[in-house]
Symmetry: C2
Subunit: 768 residues, 2 copies
Amino acid sequence: MKKLLTLFLLILFLQTTQAQDYIDYVNPMVGTQNMGHTYPGATVPFGMVQLSPDTDTTRYELNGSYNSEVYRYCAGYQYDDPTIVGFSHTHFSGTGHSDLGDFLVMPTVGELQLDAGSEEDPSTGYRSAFSHENEIAEPAYYSVLLEDHNIQAELTASNRVGMHRYTFPQTDEGHVILDLEHGIYTYDEKNVWTFVRVENDSTITGYRQTNGWARTRTVYFAMKFSKPFKEYGHEKDDNGVYRGFWGKFDESKNFPEMIGKDIQAYFNFDMEEDEELIIKFALSSVSTKGALKNMQTEVPHWDFDRVKEESQGLWNRELSKVDAETLTKEDRETFYTALYHTFLGPITYQDVDGRYRGLDQNIHTADGFTNYTIFSLWDTYRALHPWFNIVQRERNKDMVYSMLAHYDQSAHHMLPVWSHYANENWCMIGYHSVSAISDAYIKGSITDDINRSLTASVQTARVPYYDGLEYYMDMGYVPEDKNSSSVSKTLEYAYDDWAIAQLAKKAGNQDVYDTFMERSTYYENVYDASTGFMRPKLSDGSFKKEFDEMDTHGQGFIEGNAWNYSLYVPHNTEHMIELMGGKDRFSEHLDSLFVMDIDDKYINRTEDITRDGIIGNYVHGNEPGHHIPYLYNWTNHPWKTQERVRMIMETMYSNGPDGLPGNDDAGQMSAWYTFSALGFYPVAPGAEWYAIGSPNVKSARLNLENGHFVIIKTENQSKENVYVQRLTIDGKDINRNYLNHSELMNADTITFYMGDTPNKEWGTVYPK
Amino acid sequence: MKKLLTLFLLILFLQTTQAQDYIDYVNPMVGTQNMGHTYPGATVPFGMVQLSPDTDTTRYELNGSYNSEVYRYCAGYQYDDPTIVGFSHTHFSGTGHSDLGDFLVMPTVGELQLDAGSEEDPSTGYRSAFSHENEIAEPAYYSVLLEDHNIQAELTASNRVGMHRYTFPQTDEGHVILDLEHGIYTYDEKNVWTFVRVENDSTITGYRQTNGWARTRTVYFAMKFSKPFKEYGHEKDDNGVYRGFWGKFDESKNFPEMIGKDIQAYFNFDMEEDEELIIKFALSSVSTKGALKNMQTEVPHWDFDRVKEESQGLWNRELSKVDAETLTKEDRETFYTALYHTFLGPITYQDVDGRYRGLDQNIHTADGFTNYTIFSLWDTYRALHPWFNIVQRERNKDMVYSMLAHYDQSAHHMLPVWSHYANENWCMIGYHSVSAISDAYIKGSITDDINRSLTASVQTARVPYYDGLEYYMDMGYVPEDKNSSSVSKTLEYAYDDWAIAQLAKKAGNQDVYDTFMERSTYYENVYDASTGFMRPKLSDGSFKKEFDEMDTHGQGFIEGNAWNYSLYVPHNTEHMIELMGGKDRFSEHLDSLFVMDIDDKYINRTEDITRDGIIGNYVHGNEPGHHIPYLYNWTNHPWKTQERVRMIMETMYSNGPDGLPGNDDAGQMSAWYTFSALGFYPVAPGAEWYAIGSPNVKSARLNLENGHFVIIKTENQSKENVYVQRLTIDGKDINRNYLNHSELMNADTITFYMGDTPNKEWGTVYPK
């Protein structure tokens, strides 16, 4: 018995130790400085709540015109800011446009202030100065000292419940502000309606309804305090709107229905020195009843530390899917933070009972799957969803079902383009759901419902009024005089169509396969041999005359110039290279891309591109280029891919607040890193192969969901030894420069033999 | 077999004949002229849809200030207007403030116009001239020729589905406008959000969310056309609001999501000469899915005539509950139209599956009852709910359960004051739910859950922040310097408290009985013996110095002056008369009331009081006076009640468009008539007795829900013979001037013997 107990304690000890391991290597501050657009707050893997500090009030419009500063606040937090406005419950991670920031909560002491006040003088409002020295950010835990109020603020979260623990000084003027006007990318008309009900002396419910990036978005909440407030009240700017009280009430104080366009509520408390006030704050897309049920189910107690521990345990479990050894501590933190970032979204979008608000604004029940939202597909189809096909196969299957549910609910009969919270925001181009879906079937994450998926994909690719698609279908390209960014659209449609064809092949549908393989060649129609670039064509069949291959505006591209975007034929790189003059010519072209100068004027005018993310004219800070470093594999110089990839990992990513070269883009930027760090990358999702690069880990054990594990190891690894000399799978030499998915998933050990000079004989066979 | 068939056909014939009878006596136009505020359109008894023409765009505010004209349009339709704007699906009947008018549909021909245009020149918009000659209004059926478009419009409705049949001329420019900006009592900020989805080539769904009288109100719809539209589109004023399209779409045409604050959509059709276009338009408070289910369940077919026939059958069934013979055809039409008006509301407020949006904005299921909304209780507790306790006992029980559900969902823990569509609009004063509930128990319409009802009533009567209630509880009256209309509030609280006491007595709760009987005497605290009127008292205990007993403003009353309102102690009229100097003094006081002059200045400044509804200084056109004509029963001159009541029925009500003396007030004005026409009136709901007046029917058979029927008959009835000579119940003489509820309900025959001179010996025993 004693032995058993010892064993039990040992296991417990080992588990606890292990449970602490991975989260220690994550720095949620990575990407919070400059344009990473990540948030440092508390969330669980793929969690519905992202409870995080906001450091500005982030208005999209000021005095009726666009506020260029707002772009820095896509995730609410900027590392260099001196004040915290409060803690809101929903945040995108790494997006390039924004929304959310729902339900700002802020504890204060002293005179009641319902405006946030200014950064220059936080005493003008409820916001507070803070210092990074008094700040801790861990997965599922965030803590900061709010200096102006002498309140220690701590945050943690379960999937659907944010938990706040505020340690107050002694005061009879303690307040908790609940600001429903606050939001990310707000403007005067952003709030459609806000609604707060005081259910009893410690329970609040309500909702915030907004338009904006999401046209019609409603999030419901339930909020409970660990002790009763002594009084409460609210202000709103739209006092004129409601006309029903007949002078019966002073609705501003202790009136339990606070309703209008921009409710700013407060709750007052007497607090003892060091007394803790705990708040549970649950979300729901369905109703306040749903939020209360989420709270009661997930966090029925008031034990903050228990929620923190359980949620950090969830993180450890997910992060343990890759047990990586790296050359340096910095690399390890960079890797695990990237891994962390790839597991932030898409987020869970259903209540504990499976119900969620669908695209048609009706309540649906996710039957047999977990419903997810935040599909930033122009970004995430590239590497994030492929990454999930290795380490989050179950979730990726459910994400496919979530996309199909979106399709079923779509008035357009389309799969999601960029969807969040029961809305299609139509951001960016293409219909890349089809890529994510196709890749999931090709890689076996999902096997059922293939015909349903194929029908949805085909139908999506045939919506005539979508973004130049009718022209594309009729003419084989999008004409720039009919629809802008026409080259980018043509190229991406062509790739997407190829992905549909792969799905059709898997489904055994030859007709669809043939049709979409034909469409997948349409990239040829925008190649201009005279310049060697993809180039916008007009509806009369001629190329657009004025053409600046360095510019990202008005040249037929979007968020990328001709130098970068012309290289986008991931499904037929070999043919693209032929068009562009053959392997050697192409290799030189790539060399030029990485070393040429680019004028500031081209950078400054594009939101998503900053100097941080650029090497020569290669833009790593934005997605259209992510596959480019791997394209040397199709030339006679695959070792240049190895070199570039290591250089990008070394120079563009780090473990500090400025550790991302651009928006993390819902995990895509980080997924590029997690793939590359392991030595390969999915250049063409929907294909079975990964292009080999150069791993920067010493080793990594992939703990797959089916119980099998794969060890990726290196020999002779170092910062200098970036060149692959030899590659073996279970001891068998592989001389091609790609790896098939089934090989990866079934291998026991994949070994990279590294060296400081290229092995020019190795890896000359590329994927076709 | 042949005999059986003959019998069957005979029964069918009789039923059909009978089925046509009662609706023929109803003129839905009654009250549409001047200030009756009724609507002429199609609805079923207590139906959720009220599909009716609107003749103006009824803006509550014009250029930021109150539009006094709007008051004429509380129900959307004014008889004297020359044009129809369109047909909207929700209407109050007879209210004194307004809302609704959701989902205006208008068929047009020719150039597309999305504005309503002006009354002076309807060709400036989609509205059309019309003539009463080409107009038919029946229960559940309305028809009109839209002259500008040469379209014959017909409307009918089931409970939750409005049905339109439009017969077009030949045109390739046929349109159906769906205007979600339109509403009753609209203003710039009235619409919170509107949402329209084109589900397929003939099905539309969506919702309209408003604030206003209802603070947060959302109504969902589903709309189906009998043939596909050829194209569609929309306009909205708030084009700046939504920022998400990135130039991808022209959302104004054939874009299936039309979203914004004020969508005006159109659907285009090619129509042959005399081709019918039928529209089914279902409502739901839950969701568009709920609306579709309502449609599919109630009207799965396209047979307009069948819906009309079935719904008119429902009306006949309800109207047959009183089979009245009258002296004249006009009286018969007046009576059945009044009966019709008493059966319009409260309206059904749940989907076919029992689900509805509750006061907390969550979705609830009515379990074991039908949920109703539109409780205009300051009006309807007086006679409408008592009327239901005779002829709609099942429904009234469900209305009590609906009020209890409201209580359960109320953040204030209050029963409804004036509630509609999941909102408390707080209109007028008192907490008269307690009267309606108490009366329902006293009269046995409901027996279960009495303690639940008592708790809800007591709790409601103790909400300290409600409308002076804390003062009332503390000081025994509402002080005018703390809360205006203080006398009206004090008097009505005192009566309501008496009603609670009656419920407590029935429940056997002596404590509550004693407490509330004590509170029910508080009317004494505002009686001013020096003037003989109830008079506003200040918080220092003194009466307010300036006092104009003719004025309705600033004198401590609301919608009534001291002359009328001082007579409001329905639960202890005997004591009130003592206070006021005894029976003879009081009888003279009443005489004065009915003959004195009142200056126009007092009338013009009160919305709810017009010359039409006034006799001397007695205001029948508004509720505070409705019991007054019956008060002679407590004097030595009960025959004056008989005289006055007959005079009021004869002069204030008729069968024409101007046939109501003021707002029908959700049926209260008509319930006064139906009671009075039968010869009695519930002066103090919650008491078992009815005060005897003077019936104007020749006879009436009350077909009770339990199968028993009561014949009320008269002998020697005529227009002149207004005085009751003798009253018998089943042959037994009754000399008191009241009738108990149980006597009424169990009687076989009640006979009034009438004469042209008072029988001053009869009826001197009054209720105590």
